[in-house]
């Protein structure tokens, strides 16, 4: 800024402008210092099956007195093989080239099917504060991979009550997605794989409602209860999944594409609690009850214990999770030789009765003044009650760095 020294009349105005500019810069500096950037790499590995590598980037910060934004990007590369739904080792029906892409049910190792895909997802959140007690979060996201695309948006309002000891939340979400095999086709449901017709992409719309209460229970304890309701309409099949008609010795006679209902209503009741002990360690826990109109009921519990090593942000945190679910009404492992084709059927083990357990450890350590290094590893084990494979296991390793001032 250049001020003409001879122009006395303008000095007052220029000083006012300069002051405003400096204050503006100071405010902008404050907001700039408040940003947090998370970068993370994840490897999800199921031995002999799936390998997923993911890269995460997330930046969030205050952009004005009443607005906070968050932008996230995820890139996944997925390779490996996943159960097709057919009986293990079945090789009676040869079915080649149905997918026209990275997924093949080839008749020689047909209980596992290869896949190779890349997924890019972006999300944007804008939280706006209205007055002292109301915050509204507007979110939008998009996700694209070779055989699937989703576009969604959400609005979540929070109201602080009771001297900010109670927060009520109401959230609404909508998502539209389309799925197909990699060539853009979907097989005719319940058709024999040797004699199938194909249709175009399958489309589905999903609507979510959330009601939540977050309650401060004391100086060191906070709890949350959420009730979510999800209604989805449209194509729910996995276009790659099949099931076998087989005899008592699991010798396959025929193979069909699965068919799931075109509507699903899901409800979940979720509670979580965090409590800090007097020495600073933090106990966290959550419990969820889930039910849907496909006949699946599930209970999931999580526990964690954050053990501080030296000050805030420097800790180890063991965590565990247990999950149990019943099977969907139309789930089957195989169809008997004399049984008629039902209206709906799926041999996807994820819709079967199963138990799942996770055990893991997180390590966090602030590094200089830059931010915090975070390393997280876990082991995930699934045991299926009645599926073509008895169990599944995964190793999950995560390395992340958080740039920012959260722990300073």
């Amino acid at each position: 800024m250049v001020v003409a020294a001879t122009d006395q009349r303008n000095i007052r105005g220029m000083l006012a402008l300069a002051t405003t500019g400096l204050l503006g810069q100071a405010a902008a500096q404050d907001f700039a210092n408040d940003w947090t950037v998370n970068l993370a790499y994840l490897n999800y590995f199921e031995p002999d099956r799936v390998n997923v590598q993911s890269f995460y980037g997330k930046a969030s910060g205050q952009i004005s007195d009443d607005a906070h934004i968050s932008v996230g990007v995820v890139l996944d590369t997925m390779t490996g093989a996943t159960p097709s739904g057919a009986v293990e080792g079945s090789n009676v029906v040869a079915n080649t080239g149905t997918s026209g892409g990275g997924f093949e049910v080839d008749g020689t190792s047909s209980s596992l099917a290869d896949f190779d895909d890349t997924r890019l997802a972006v999300d944007l959140d804008w939280e706006h504060t209205y007055g002292r007690f109301v915050r509204v979060n507007y979110g939008a996201y998009a996700s694209v991979e070779g055989d699937f695309a989703a576009l969604g948006a959400s609005v979540k309002g929070n109201v602080d009550l009771n001297n900010r000891n109670t927060t009520l939340a109401l959230g609404l979400g909508a998502e539209g997605d389309q799925s197909s095999q990699r060539d853009g086709r979907t097989p005719e449901p319940m058709s024999n794989v040797t004699d199938q017709s194909f249709y175009g992409e399958g489309r589905r719309n999903t609507y979510d409602v959330l009601l939540g209460v977050t309650q401060v229970l004391g100086r060191r304890t906070i709890a949350q209860v959420n009730l979510t309701y999800t209604h989805s309409l449209g194509y729910h099949n996995d276009p790659y999944k099949v099931f076998s008609r087989a005899d008592e010795d699991d010798v396959e006679a025929e193979r069909y594409y699965e068919n799931r209902p075109d509507e699903r209503i899901r409800g979940a009741l979720y509670t979580s609690l965090r409590h800090q002990l007097t020495d600073g360690d933090i106990i966290g826990g959550s419990l969820r009850y889930y039910q849907d109109d496909w006949g699946v009921e599930a209970v999931t519990g999580e526990l964690s214990y954050r053990l501080h090593i030296a000050g805030r942000g420097s800790y180890v945190e063991p965590f565990g999770r247990a999950h149990y679910q019943t099977e969907a009404d139309f789930y089957l492992r195989t169809l008997g030789m004399d049984e008629e084709l039902p209206e709906y059927a799926s041999a996807d083990a994820r819709l079967g009765e199963l138990q799942a357990y996770t055990g893991g450890l997180k390590f966090s350590q602030p590094v200089l003044d830059w931010g915090t290094l975070q390393i997280r590893g876990s082991y995930y084990y699934q045991r299926f009650e009645d599926a073509n494979y008895d169990d599944n296991q995964a190793f999950i390793a995560q390395l992340g760095f958080e740039f920012g001032s959260r722990y300073r």
Partner: protein, 72 residues
């Protein structure tokens, strides 16, 4: 569904009773720490929900919307 309603009623009553305790703004230092965020660490929460969504039938409870994937 009856089970859900009973559980919800019990939890809401417990919270309402707990709500009688008021923590003043100047007593909130502990609650404001990142580790006390009931939503958890943003990346960890995203990773976990993505893994479990792709491997189990049950989902929901902790938010609305997702980052949809074709893995289920």
């Amino acid at each position: 569904m009856k089970t859900v309603i009973r559980c919800l009623a019990l939890i809401l009553i417990s919270l309402a009773l707990a709500g009688c305790t008021t923590v003043q703004p100047w007593e909130r230092g502990t609650l404001a720490e990142p580790g006390m965020d009931v939503d958890g660490h943003p990346i960890d929460a995203y990773v976990d929900s993505h893994v479990y969504f792709s491997r189990e039938a049950a989902t929901g409870g902790s938010g609305v919307g997702g980052g949809g994937c074709g893995c289920n």
